[in-house]
Amino acid sequence: MINEIDQALLEKIADLVGKPVDALNIRKDGGCEARQSTEHIKIDARTDGKEGIDIRILDGTKGEKCYIPVVISKSDYSEMVYNDFYVGENCDVDIIAGCGIHNSGCDEARHDGVHTFHIGKNSHVRYAEKHYGEGEGTGAKVMNPQTVVYLDEGATIQMETVQIRGIDSTKRYTKIVCGKGAEALITERLLTHGRQLAESDMEIVLDGEDSKGRVISRSVAQDESRQVFRPIVVGNDKCFGHVQCDSIIMGNAKIESVPAITANSTEAQLIHEAAIGKIAGDQLLKLQTLGLTEEEAEDCILKGFLA
């Protein structure tokens, strides 16, 4: 049963209002609240005994969306979910995932998810994943998502992950393997506060000729929170890879950023950039001369940085 709290969570994590006509699977506290396939996108329970679903997108599917949000409303709850995506050739689709936890108890609520994508030749996928936690309880809200993507020749994925406040602990692992002419773009936005911990490991393997990989990570660590980033790009052929990690550090937070690039081909062109710093004083002053208070100026800078 989807109640008002769930509905608000669904809107936050997947912009989902009401029931769309698109393919849909809503998972709540381990159960299936709604499932809907379309002519071109089929969603079925797994048959190997593991928790989760298989999503099959037929060749040539274009302009369609698929929503697969997860809601957890229990305390003292943990789940491990496996979702596999099989995207055919020549598709152009949006997949909107995301997980929202409302924990009003004093025990941990935890979602571990493994998403594996097999994206066919010349298909384009935009994959959005928002994580959000709330609830008046003291119980921790924990999410550990793993995303593994295999891009066939000429395929692309634009992956957008967003986690703004709310999640006490996250260990994220993302791996994308690019075939010939394939392209991966990951944008990551993260804000931690309180005593939260976020770890993000990424690996982009540029296996195919003329493959491209790009990581744009922006994060803000406030209060006592800790963040660790380990983005890795491996170039095995003629390819282009670029990792860009920017972090704003505030309060007593700690940030560790360890980008790495590995070239196994003379034709691989790989770049990494990483920067950590506090909000520049002249930025605050400039916005104050435009009439904002120091707090408003700080908010404005963070909002823009994480936009």
């Binding site: 002053l285 104050q288 001369t289 435009l290 009439g291 940085f305 936009a307």
Partner: protein, 247 residues
């Protein structure tokens, strides 16, 4: 009316007191265009920053429209109608030109037409710039012009510009001087412009030469120019020596 009374600003450098501003008093009536000029390091920018609240003077008093604003914060002064265009404006990752103009105007629903007007006044095309981030992808001249556009969007009664010409190409500079002329002609704002450009100096009602932390001369362009030239030549030992040798 802006009044500075006996403003001094002293810094401590390796135990030595150094006066950056030394007992500066000046009044600037409403609707006037006043240019601060003078040698580098003479105290012009510090004086302008004192007005905006970016620098707190060691002593002295600042009155704005009769009210003592010496103890007010930058934000409070901005809300009273004072604005300041930085000599070297900061850049912002993720904040677009439209965002910055919106913040400056105080109107959350600032229209594209209005943005376009502000950008045109500094020689930029809104279609090319509105959605661009004010980050390192913009040149120094572009950031500078956007900075000036934010001051125009703010529509303050007192606008302070710190070397608005720096880094700006000749064509945009011509457009910018027209904008200053328009504001001046309509008396829609009082302007203090720190500048070394003759074209801007010629627009001014009054020129104030700031040097050695003090106001050295005040007057019209015609009165001040000969003094600046005499000082420039007179203070340069190389030029002075050449002249002496030639004579």
């Amino acid at each position: 009316m802006l009044e500075l009374k006996h403003i001094s600003y002293t810094v401590s450098d390796a135990g030595m007191e150094q006066a950056i501003l030394n007992d500066v008093s000046v009044s600037i009536p409403d609707g006037k265009l006043v240019v601060f000029t003078g040698p580098n390091g003479g105290g012009k920018t510090t004086l302008a920053k004192v007005i905006m609240g970016l620098v707190t003077p060691t002593s002295g008093q600042i009155l704005y429209n009769g009210r003592d604003i010496t103890g007010l914060s930058i934000t409070e002064r901005a809300r009273l109608g004072i604005s300041y265009g930085f000599q070297q404006p900061p850049r912002f990752k993720g904040i677009t030109v439209r965002d910055l103009l919106t913040v400056a105007s105080g109107d959350d629903n600032l229209s594209k037409d209005k943005c376009c007007r502000y950008l045109t006044q500094v020689g930029l095309c809104a279609n090319d710039y509105l959605d661009r981030e004010v980050d390192v992808s913009l040149s120094g001249g572009e950031v500078k012009r956007i900075e000036i556009a934010t001051i125009l969007a703010r529509g303050s009664e007192l606008m302070i510009f710190d070397e608005p010409e720096a880094g700006i190409d000749l064509w945009s500079f011509a457009r910018l001087t027209e904008t200053f002329e328009d504001i001046h002609r309509t008396h829609s704002a009082t302007m203090i412009i720190i500048s070394h450009q003759e074209r801007i100096i010629r627009l001014a009602d009054e020129i104030i030469v700031v040097g050695g932390g003090q106001l050295q001369y005040r007057g019209s362009a015609d009165e001040i120019f000969p003094k600046i030239m005499a000082d420039t030549l007179g203070s340069c030992p190389v030029l002075t020596r050449k002249e002496a040798a030639g004579a």
